[in-house]
């Protein structure tokens, strides 16, 4: 038997330049999916500050939950991260819808176009939301 040579990773992501629409869609969907789960865990962790809040300090707005959230929101970096999260979520939703259509066998011939459409729409929505996200009081 002949032994054979394994061309390793060159074969996978070393070839990204040669990927076509469907492949990029798959990679982006994967990436955004992972970011979203990551966020979900973090999100619940942050929200955990709500446990054991005592009503009095809540009335005063000085409870841990409120202050954590507004504390975070006062950081510009968090605002930017939120925009990123929005982008990720919107793309995942739009491409998710595209994938659901694919699952139903709808519009398979224009799968590349629907991917580009998802990208463009994501871009548009994100740009449109930037003022809202970065606006609002920082302090």
């Amino acid at each position: 038997m002949s032994q054979s040579y394994n061309r390793g990773t060159v074969e996978d992501f070393g070839r990204w330049r040669e990927f076509t629409a469907g492949m990029w869609a798959w990679i982006f969907h994967k990436f955004t999916g992972w970011v979203l789960v990551g966020y979900l865990f973090t999100h619940i962790a942050v929200l955990s500050t709500a446990v054991g809040v005592d009503p009095a300090s809540a009335q005063a707005g000085s409870d841990l939950y409120t202050s954590t959230i507004s504390g975070l929101e006062s950081l510009l970096i968090v605002r930017f991260l939120e925009v990123g999260l929005l982008a990720v979520a919107v793309f995942h939703i739009l491409n998710g819808i595209r994938l659901l259509m694919v699952d139903l066998g709808v519009g398979l011939e224009s799968q590349d176009k629907s991917f580009y459409a998802s990208l463009l729409l994501t871009g548009a929505i994100v740009v449109a939301s930037v003022p809202t996200f970065l606006g609002g009081k920082l302090a």
């Binding site: 999916g33 619940i44 409870d63 959230i69 507004s70 998710g96 809202t132 609002g136 009081k137």
Partner: protein
């Protein structure tokens, strides 16, 4: 001759649930984002505001379902992705249980948190 695969863990169920949860999530996630960033600005959130919303039973139930479906969807998605990349055997099992436990913990903690946000308990 070709080997015959007869692992009867028919992936179909998880595949279907991934799609069903996705359909549900489209609505809820969009709603969630709108509500907490556009209607109420995130920066203006307070515990009392949250409490007021969470005390409405339909909202509470929706949020809790959101938590459960998102957890299933996310954890199952990650698991799938790893299996697709060729994870097999005991490592696959390990990942399966690890992700399963993480998912359950997330739901438990999420449930605790959401109940803490209400005045129900």
């Amino acid at each position: 001759m070709a080997e015959h695969y007869s692992s009867f863990d028919r992936g179909g169920r998880r595949w279907l649930f991934q799609r069903l949860t996705a359909v549900f999530l489209v609505g809820v996630l969009a709603f969630h984002f709108m509500l907490l960033h556009f209607v109420n600005h995130a920066a203006d959130l307070t515990f009392l505001g949250t409490q007021a919303r969470m005390n409405r039973p339909w909202y509470l139930i929706t949020m809790w379902l959101f938590l459960v479906t998102a957890t299933f969807h996310g954890v199952n998605g990650v698991y799938n992705a790893l299996v697709n990349q060729g994870l097999t055997g005991s490592r696959k099992n390990a990942v399966k249980y690890l992700l399963g436990i993480a998912g359950i913990l997330l739901i438990v903690q999420g449930t605790r948190v959401s109940l803490a946000m209400t005045t129900l308990v």
